[in-house]
Amino acid sequence: MNRLVLLALRIAVALVLLAAWHVLTTVPIGGRKLLDPFFFSTPLDVLARVWKDFAGGGIWRHLGITLLETVLAFTIGSVGGIVFGFVFARGELVAAVFDPYIKAANALPRVVLAPIFALWFGLGIWSKVALGFTLVFFIVFFNVYQGVREVSPTILANARMLGMNERQLLRHVYWPAALTWMFSSLHTAVGFALVGAVVGEYLGSAAGLGYKIHEAESVFDVTGVFAGMLILAVFVIVIDSVVTAIEKRLLVWRPGQASTTAQG
């Protein structure tokens, strides 16, 4: 499909929904408004609030803190996941011994940990980073583990026949193979890092987007909640496109990734 047509259709969907929202909350139909603006706010109010937030400049601090928490959770979680993924994939015994514990820890709903982390790490950014970490770590861990385990035996045998030692195998074979798998989970991992940050803020903090939303909710400020959600949604899209750009650069060798430039 033509890119412009697609874009037009996407915008059309947004416009239709916004128009419906606007009409239902502001235009009286049969003598009364079908949706009460107190409970549902109105699109124009929400946009005005977002504008006010940015014009006032106070929102940047909250965005910055949420971004910092997301990046930290993602980075620390990824590094941990990669290290443990490699250790487990290369060490049969370690993997066998810890298997049930890893599964149990992964099955645990992370939200129940949030109060504990708040106790341990305080109400600052580190309790949110810890929550994001527990989400990111397992995604990256399982993917790296899988990636290292499923390296093509032929590529491995070939590399060995070329005389590579363990360190060279790690660098030229295992690491790039694991990286592919990791990148396939990157979008999910970044998303979870953000979820960890926002949920953590929501449950107890003094700054961040989650805090803003929570603050608005506690005074029944529906417009404020929707404005916070809108900012959050745009924030997610921006982060996701950054990830896509990095992925395209690093995985240029993968079939399909660079197919437009491949066949000259």
Partner: protein, 274 residues
Amino acid sequence: MSLPPGDAPAVALRGVSISFAVDGGGAYDAVARTDLSVAPGEFVAIVGPTGCGKSTLLNVAAGLLRPSTGGTEILGARLEGLNARAGYLFQQDALMPWKTALDNVAVALEPQGVARAEALDRARAWLARVGLEAFAARYPHMLSGGQRKRVALAQVLIRDPAILLMDEPFGPLDAQTRQIMGNLLLDLWARDRKAVMFVTHDLEEAIALSDRVVVMSAGPAASIVDDFRVDLARPRDIAEIRTEPAFHEIHRAIWAKLRGEVRKAYALGEGRAS
């Protein structure tokens, strides 16, 4: 076997048997008590019915597989672990998909401690030798099957191994590409005449390329049942040599032997299937 006195064979398999453990107990004897000797500079093709253990034998010579009994000697020394003197060309794609053609070839020099800049220079020269200098920056998925084999060939040969082990390397290619690759291989081989073990199911390819064709019997417990010398003049052209009467004579002689083994293999296969 005509070996110059005092000159150890490049590869000597002595009394090699290989059995694999089968699920649910027991063992499957793939290869039984096989001897094979390849002289330095000799091009030996191994033919046999599908699943007879040709590749298994090659993996033993490579040190990728330990024989259940018997042993391997490489240039007079007993083989322990991987065969560092051998280059192995695999049937399947073995290039690292995350490296360009150039990097795939250059990385083969890293274990020898060659500096990166020099490795890249030598890799470029090798890519030129296999006719791919214009494709150095491409990743494997951007290359055709034949081009990938050329890169793999350069990757193996840049290390200058004394022995070349090839496991149906041109199997997945189409007929014309196989001929081109066969001629390229002979051309490169003629420069320094490494010892070659070349496994194939294609008898014509085997005769056209090699000095000796070894016939393996149908498995299980396969072994070498015959050994033919191919006295055709070199240099050869793979496509043209097939029209020569001497080629036909050798082909007839070997096929008379091979046909029986192929039939046996099919009969066993049918029996197993029903």
